[in-house]
Every structure is written in structure tokens, then in C-alpha cells.
């Protein structure tokens, strides 16, 4: 099949980008979207041009590296699918695909379709964990966890951190991502002791990063490759206001977002 790819090309973070159109004449419908870009890149390299930079790793839809907009939809038209598992048979012969990177102030663009998602790591760092050091743990069956709770925690924990929720949100909000982790750990008895601290810390960090606000519209869950429900955002909101009410001292601190990639200023020893 034939396809026209209109791809955003941008050399670096501070360069001006633009769309460039490429014609592909021999696309196998069994190919994944990323394999289609591989084919394009091979031909670009052979012509002496720079290939399209895009992030990818596992190509099984679980690592969360890949992702871009296809015709205005994060990860493309197929629900619950990352671009690495999106096969070309879902497009029509002769179709034009507009391929654009995630766009958000919190995800600065690095090159072509590659963006910087370290804001997500900082949100997890702010409390997305259970404080249990190695060796501290009681036997796994000491605290029973009902199947329904374990299943719901798993639903939320399935988040792959790809950033599609932010990309699809008209406000570029990270509520679904943050809510998923708060919900995952908050549901489990193991995460309960830190529930308040976690909600305060993670929400504070999310608000320190230049994400927008949640307006409860649901575009995020519509594009989520793991179909994480809006319920997790409600969970975050609930934990947050309850923790804010109970908070006795203002202890939570946030980290300033870092956008530089150079390590030249850091200690090396």
C-alpha cells in the first residue's frame, strides 16, 4: 500500500521545526508503524539524509518509550495500542498520516519526535513508592489483599509512563499519570501508611512541573494504551484534599524542573 507521511522534523530543542512530507510506495500492511518509519529511515540514510529520530525500545507496547500523534490522536487510531503495535492494516491505501511529537511545556522537544519526559520521574520521586528498604519485608502472605483490591491496584499499576495522556489532554495535564500511581499504591494495604504524604508530595510536584490542570474531560483515558480509568484521578483528588485537611505541618518540598541534559556541571566522583 501507498502512504504519505507528513512528519515533524526539528534538529534540536532550540531549532525551528517544520513538517516534511515523505511518500512511501511499498508499505506492507503487516508492518507496525515503527517498522514503517524504519523503512523510511533506511531510505533516508541511503540518500545521505538524517533519519527521523523517534523513541522506541521494547516494541511490545510495555516499555512506554514510543509515542507520537498520528492524525491528531496520540498513538494513532487503534484503542489500547502503542504505535509500536499499531499495524499499517489499520490505515487506508493512499492515506496521509500527519505525525507530530507530544506537545507540552513539561515535555521539551529534543529532536524530531523525541521529547524529554523526566517530569514523570520527578513526580514518582516525590512519593510514588512504598518506603520499605531491602530486607525489611514481612512474609508476602502476612497481610491478605483481597482479589478485587489487588486487581484494581493492578489496573492502575499497568501505566507505562508513555505520556500519551498528557499529549492528548487539551490542557497537557499529567493527572492520569499521577493518579495512576497514587491509586495503585493507595489501594494496597502496603501503601496505606504513606497515603497522605504520597498524595501531597506527588500532587505538589505535578503542580510544580508546567503541566496544565485536569478538567475531567477524559481524552487521556481514551488514548491510554493501558486504558487506565478516570477513577484514578478521582482517587488522587480525594487523597489530596483529605491529606491537605489533615496536614499538621507544611513539610512537603518540591524539586525545580530540570531541562538541561549536560552533565558537565555535576560531580563525577
Amino acid at each position: 500500500m501507498k502512504l504519505t507521511l507528513k512528519i515533524w522534523r526539528q534538529k534540536g530543542p532550540s531549532d525551528k521545526g517544520k513538517f516534511i512530507t515523505y511518500q512511501l510506495n511499498d508499505v506492507n500492511p503487516e508492518m507496525s508503524m515503527l517498522e514503517c518509519l524504519d523503512v523510511l529511515n533506511e531510505s533516508l540514510i541511503e540518500r545521505g539524509e538524517e533519519p527521523v529520530a523517534f523513541e522506541h525500545d521494547c516494541r511490545e507496547g510495555i516499555c512506554g518509550s514510543c509515542g507520537f500523534m498520528i492524525n491528531g490522536v496520540a498513538h494513532g487510531p487503534l484503542p489500547a495500542t502503542t504505535v509500536c503495535q499499531l499495524t499499517m492494516r489499520h490505515f487506508k491505501d493512499g492515506q496521509q498520516l500527519v505525525i507530530e511529537p507530544w506537545r507540552a511545556a513539561a515535555f521539551p522537544l529534543l529532536k524530531d519526535l523525541v521529547v524529554d519526559r523526566r517530569a514523570f520521574d520527578r513526580i514518582i520521586e516525590a512519593g510514588g513508592f512504598v518506603s520499605v528498604s531491602t530486607g525489611n519485608a514481612p512474609d508476602g502472605n502476612t497481610i491478605p489483599v483481597g482479589k478485587e483490591i489487588a486487581d484494581r491496584a493492578m489496573d492502575a499499576a499497568a501505566c507505562i509512563g508513555c505520556g500519551a495522556c498528557v499529549a492528548a489532554c487539551p490542557n497537557a495535564s499529567a493527572a492520569l499519570f499521577t493518579g495512576a500511581k497514587i491509586s495503585h499504591l493507595g489501594l494496597l494495604p502496603q501503601g496505606k501508611p504513606e497515603q497522605d504524604r504520597r498524595a501531597l508530595g506527588m500532587v505538589a510536584q505535578m503542580n510544580t512541573e508546567p503541566f496544565g490542570s485536569c478538567t475531567n474531560i477524559g481524552e487521556c483515558t481514551g488514548v491510554c494504551p493501558k486504558e487506565i480509568p478516570l477513577e484514578v484521578i478521582a482517587h488522587m483528588n480525594r487523597d489530596f484534599w483529605q491529606a491537605s485537611w489533615k496536614e499538621r505541618e507544611d513539610l512537603v518540598q518540591t524539586i525545580a524542573p530540570v531541562t538541561s541534559w549536560s552533565n558537565k556541571t555535576k560531580t563525577k566522583s
Binding site: 500523534m69 492524525n71 491528531g72 490522536v73 500527519v98 507530530e100 506537545r103 507540552a104 511545556a105 513539561a106 492528548a168 487539551p170 490542557n171 497537557a172 495535564s173 501531597l200 508530595g201 500532587v203 505538589a204 503542580n207 510544580t208 508546567p210 503541566f211 496544565g212 490542570s213 485536569c214 478538567t215 475531567n216 474531560i217 477524559g218 481524552e219 483515558t221 481514551g222 488514548v223 480509568p229 478516570l230 477513577e231 484521578i233 478521582a234 482517587h235 488522587m236 483528588n237 480525594r238 487523597d239 489530596f240 484534599w241 483529605q242 491537605s244 507544611d250 512537603v252 518540598q253 518540591t254 524539586i255 525545580a256 530540570v258 558537565k264 556541571t265 555535576k266 560531580t267 563525577k268
Partner: protein
């Protein structure tokens, strides 16, 4: 290969009000107050069908004690101010959160109502101001003389002007759309979402919003068609 250490710069967390989540809780609570007002106001309005005597008595009852009235009005004014302040601040933040726009963006999972809150809100606000000037203060009263105390007369006379009714109906439909999202959304903002209940709540929001709006716009329509004189 420098050896200076860069410490992660830490600072105080945003307060409840400074956080987007906190603002949304405020919007939910104030939205809820305004929603309750809308219901109460509708119930009162529907007394118009009971005739001028009972309608005017109801209006007089509202003015039973001016202090009490102003307390209630203050609550409503504060709610409106907070609701709007939070919205404006969030909207400005959201604009900054996506400095470069998509060349193409499709909405695949959101309702029309939810995507239009930012402009249904301001239009409803403009309407509320006009509405207060027309029926409460009486500064604008096209087509007839505003008679303080004779609410029934003011309503009939006001709605007899076709464009007043049209503007009213238009604004109320927008209010309905605003409520359609707002009624269930306020539950989400304060943290209630349930796999089974929320879909019901969304349906209920649609029904309630529609019922409210039908109730309200039935009055100008009745006036224009002469059902109520």
C-alpha cells in the same frame, strides 16, 4: 569534567489553593452551591404558573429579612467570584502548558459539553449580569416599566419582548450544557468516581440538566405563546 556539585533546588510545595487540584475542589464546591441555587431559583420561578398572587407572595417572602437575604447573596457572590477566579487562573495555566499547538488534534473521548466549559461559562456570566439588571435591579427593562414588588408583571412584561426571551433561552441552553458536565464533574473533582455509579451519574447529569433547562425556558415560551399572561 568539573567537580562542582549541583544540589537539586528544593522549594516549598504549592498551597492547596495554588495547586490545580485544590482549585478544582474549590470549583466543585462553589459549582455545587450555584447548582443548588439554580434548583431553588427554578422552583420559585415555576410558581409563575400559580398566578400573580402566589408568585408575588413568594418574591416578597424572599425579602422577608434583608440581612438574611444579603447573607445568602454574599455566599452566592463569593461562590461566583471563586468559581470564576479559579477558572481564569487554570485557563491561563493550561494555555501555558502547551506553548506549541498541534497542527491537527482530534477529540476522541470527551463530550461536547466538557470541551465547551470555557466559553459556556462566560456567556452564562454575561447573561446573569443582564438578568440581574433586568429583573432584580430593574435598570434595564426594555418594552415596559419595571415595577418594584410586582415581580409577576416584570416577568411577563420582560419576556414579552421577543429578543429578551431569545437571549434568555439561548443562555439557558448554554447553562444546561455547562451543567451537563459540571454536575458529574464536581464529584470527580472532590474524588468520587465509581465504575458503576459514575456512568449512572453522567446519565443523571444529562437528565437533571435537561429538566432544569426545560423548566426555565418553559416560562418565556409560555409568555410568548400567551399561556401565561
Amino acid at each position: 569534567m568539573s567537580t562542582s556539585t549541583v544540589q537539586a533546588f528544593k522549594h516549598q510545595a504549592p498551597s492547596f489553593w495554588q495547586s490545580t487540584n485544590g482549585k478544582k475542589v474549590v470549583m466543585a464546591v462553589t459549582g455545587c452551591i450555584l447548582f443548588l441555587f439554580i434548583i431553588g431559583h427554578l422552583l420559585g420561578n415555576l410558581l409563575v404558573y400559580a398566578g400573580p398572587v402566589r408568585y408575588n407572595a413568594y418574591a416578597a417572602f424572599l425579602h422577608f429579612d434583608d440581612t438574611l437575604l444579603w447573607i445568602i447573596r454574599s455566599v452566592l457572590i463569593v461562590a461566583v467570584v471563586l468559581h470564576i477566579t479559579a477558572t481564569v487562573q487554570l485557563a491561563l495555566r493550561n494555555k501555558k502548558a502547551r506553548p506549541v499547538d498541534y497542527s491537527r488534534k482530534e477529540a476522541i473521548n470527551s463530550s461536547f459539553a466538557s470541551r465547551t466549559m470555557y466559553w459556556s461559562g462566560p456567556i452564562v456570566l454575561a447573561f446573569v449580569i443582564f438578568h440581574l439588571l433586568e429583573f432584580t435591579a430593574g435598570y434595564i427593562h426594555p418594552g415596559s416599566q419595571f415595577i418594584r414588588g410586582d415581580v409577576y408583571h416584570n416577568v411577563i412584561a420582560g419576556f414579552s419582548v421577543w429578543w429578551v426571551s431569545a437571549w434568555y433561552i439561548f443562555a439557558l441552553i448554554l447553562l444546561g450544557i455547562h451543567l451537563r458536565h459540571g454536575i458529574w464533574s464536581m464529584f470527580q473533582s472532590v474524588g468520587y468516581n465509581h465504575k458503576k455509579h459514575t456512568p449512572l451519574l453522567k446519565k443523571a447529569a444529562l437528565v437533571i440538566a435537561a429538566a432544569i433547562i426545560l423548566g426555565y425556558i418553559s416560562i418565556p415560551i409560555s409568555v410568548l405563546t400567551g399561556l401565561v399572561k
